[in-house]
């Protein structure tokens, strides 16, 4: 049984796996995919991008499938799929915990910076 996949991925790492799940890509194309599919919210500079790619290949989450000149194309491995699914599950768990915590809220205890006007009690 392979070593358990390391868990809290960074947002950049999650989106990289997400990109590679659509098919083999080189680094640049993956970064472009991410920018498009995150509404421009997430932009990976070269340092972040290639650092993570190297890490992912070393950990077996991605696998190099071709080299044409300088251009290296990677594809997600089964371990990469697992790591991706595990991360999505983690996010879902966080949201579920948040939802259940919401039920036991005691809003009267909220401490506001300026306790003065308190017109509308915020949502």
């Amino acid at each position: 049984m392979p070593k358990r996949t390391m868990e809290p991925l960074t947002e950049s790492m999650l989106y990289l796996l997400m990109a590679y799940r659509t098919g083999p890509l080189c680094g640049i194309d993956a970064a472009e995919w991410i920018a498009r599919h995150s509404g421009g919210r997430i932009r990976l500079g070269p340092a972040t991008l290639y650092t993570i790619l190297a890490k992912f290949e070393a950990e077996g989450l991605l696998r190099e499938v071709s080299v044409e000149g300088r251009k290296r194309t990677y594809a997600v491995t089964e371990r990469g799929e697992e790591a991706y699914r595990a991360e999505l599950e983690r996010l879902e768990t966080c949201l579920a915990d948040a939802a259940s915590a919401h039920l036991e809220r005691r809003p009267e205890d909220a401490a506001d910076e300026d306790p003065a006007p308190a017109a509308l009690p915020a949502l």
Copy 2:
């Protein structure tokens, strides 16, 4: 208009805000709340705990509401609520992006470490 709240919170930070939303707490009690409500998945050691509390107070996400001897009790501020909501939104956005990315998957491109048996095509 106050400076925009910094965005990707760590998991520990998110759960801390979650804990404080239930009412004022001292650090230790917050850490216990988190261990209980995460099914033991998340345990904050003292370094993590107090480092984040200090950061949150400095940033105005928490506010000290009482000191009894060594024991300091904090409560979440309106900015803390905002940061919490923003983080939940971010998680939801990630999951939504993942879901929409799923639709454009090309599964035939997946690169398996050992391309041999390929019995059940994993989910």
